[in-house]
Amino acid sequence: MTEKRNRPEGKAADGGDGMDGIFDDGDEMDMDTTMTTNDDKEGEATSAEVKSVTNKSYFSPQLLAQYYSRLFPFDLLHEWLSYDPSCNQKGEQKSQSPTNTKIFSRREFSFTIEPIPGEEIYIRYQSFLDQAELTNAVLKRNPHKIDIGAIFSHPPKDHHAIQGSTQRKFAPVQRELVFDVDLTDYDGVRKCGCSAANICTKCWKMMGMAMKVMDVGLKEDFGFKNIAWFYSGRRGIHAWICDESARELSDPGRSAVASYFEVRTTMYFTVTTCVDTIYFEKVRAWASYTY
């Protein structure tokens, strides 16, 4: 039904393994991709519904460069990530506000670039003084993927110099609380014929359910207001909770909020033939919220 296509061995594999799980290891870093072939699907009850979202022709460095130069909303991204109320709607600074300007310039960006087809290079600790610097770097590098990390104590691009210093400590100080839900984790209960990276309108409903439950919980139980939801581009969703109280959460605080939304259900099923049992055993837990 599906076939695995291996990418030529590239630098990304090493980079991905060596980063101690720092990546969103769901949607992004997997080295395999599953493709639905039309022949296999023919004659199945679900064939009309299952669509492959993977297609090479939808993506090329040329198309991507066009997207970045004409459509990518650099100002919306900058306006958001600077958290600066003195910005006007065009993203221009009305008054100089050095503290907040610094928030943007202390943000880690990382780029995945592919200078030679099949050879991915991951560049971490990029940071940019302002929107123009970010725009110029993206247009120049044409990254296949841009990742957003934490706001650090110092501009991440200087991290080597700071790490060598005894007086100054380079550490993350702020970061949106983020959530990632992937349909891959629903394989045991997806009865639509989809698995792995494939999705269809039937199993996508599960993402809608997840968003509704999370959104109301984050708002009503934690009082968060500034929540942005995004399609991950393939098989899942991301939530960015941007309230100051969320951005300033410690790592244990983040774990506590995330655990609050977990629930373990395995033991209520008599027969453990459920394909997803292992999954539940591994991560489903519901801890009391005590942070």
Partner: protein, 241 residues
């Protein structure tokens, strides 16, 4: 705090209020988007409902046996089957009493009753409750793909989703790179139409606008309010001294 010791707390009776609320949201969607034949068919095909009934606790084996027999030959809808299953279980645990069953249910212990009650909830949650990739949330220093990027495997843009219109969101409607380029080429401006951004010429417009008006604008208000409060507090301190 979320240590190993107090994790793995399971569903318990009475259900935590947040899970009660989740159940109230999810159960109707379980009925409309999981059990029917046009969805995941959990209660639409014998093969699937046999699997489901097999997960019932041993103390509910009477329900499993009688429904397996009954459903083999009847033409009820999946929704009716779900209602029937819940009713059978309610009768079994004595939540709903019938003259015939009143005696029988008294024999069942509290633990078994609770297990049966929670089975219904656990079943709904198993198909519908959010399954978080928790490692992404745990650390400040974790990278996550930037919104507005394009997924290299699909060519689709990571667009904002309006939570108020979440049921209308279809990932297959999200524009791909070639489609966006076609839309840019095909765009013909109307008289008097002001275009600030090129994305306004494409199908990215609605989701990007939503991000501006429903996320950025309210967040600004909050930030400005917070700044004002801080300034006032600062002023008060200055006056005091």
């Amino acid at each position: 705090m979320g240590t190993d010791k107090n994790q793995n707390v399971d569903l318990s009776n009475p259900l935590h209020p947040t899970l009660q609320r989740a159940y109230a949201i999810l159960e109707p969607m379980f009925v409309s988007d999981i059990i029917p034949a046009g969805a995941h068919g959990i209660l639409a095909f014998e093969e699937h409902w046999t699997d489901l009934l097999a997960t019932l606790p041993p103390s509910a084996s009477a329900v499993r046996e009688s429904l397996e027999k009954k459903w083999k030959n009847d033409v009820t809808t999946p929704e009716e089957k779900w209602t029937e299953l819940k009713r059978y279980l309610d009768v079994l645990i004595g939540k709903v009493t019938t003259a015939k069953k009143a005696k029988q249910s008294k024999k069942m212990g509290a633990a078994d009753r609770s297990k049966i009650e929670l089975w219904t909830i656990a079943t709904v949650f198993r198909y519908t409750y959010p399954r978080l990739d928790i490692n992404v949330s745990k650390m400040q220093n974790h990278l996550l793909k930037s919104p507005f990027c394009v997924h290299p495997k699909t060519g689709r843009v990571c667009v904002p989703i309006d939570i108020k219109k979440v049921d209308e969101f279809d990932p297959f409607d999200v524009p791909t790179l070639p489609q966006l380029m076609d839309e840019l080429d095909a765009f013909e401006g109307k008289d008097g139409q002001k275009i600030q951004y090129e994305w306004e010429k494409t199908s990215l417009k609605e989701s990007f606008r939503h991000f501006q008006t429903d996320f950025l604008a309210p967040m600004w208000k909050d930030l400005k309010r917070a700044e004002k409060v801080k300034a006032e507090q600062q002023a008060a301190i200055t006056v005091d001294f």
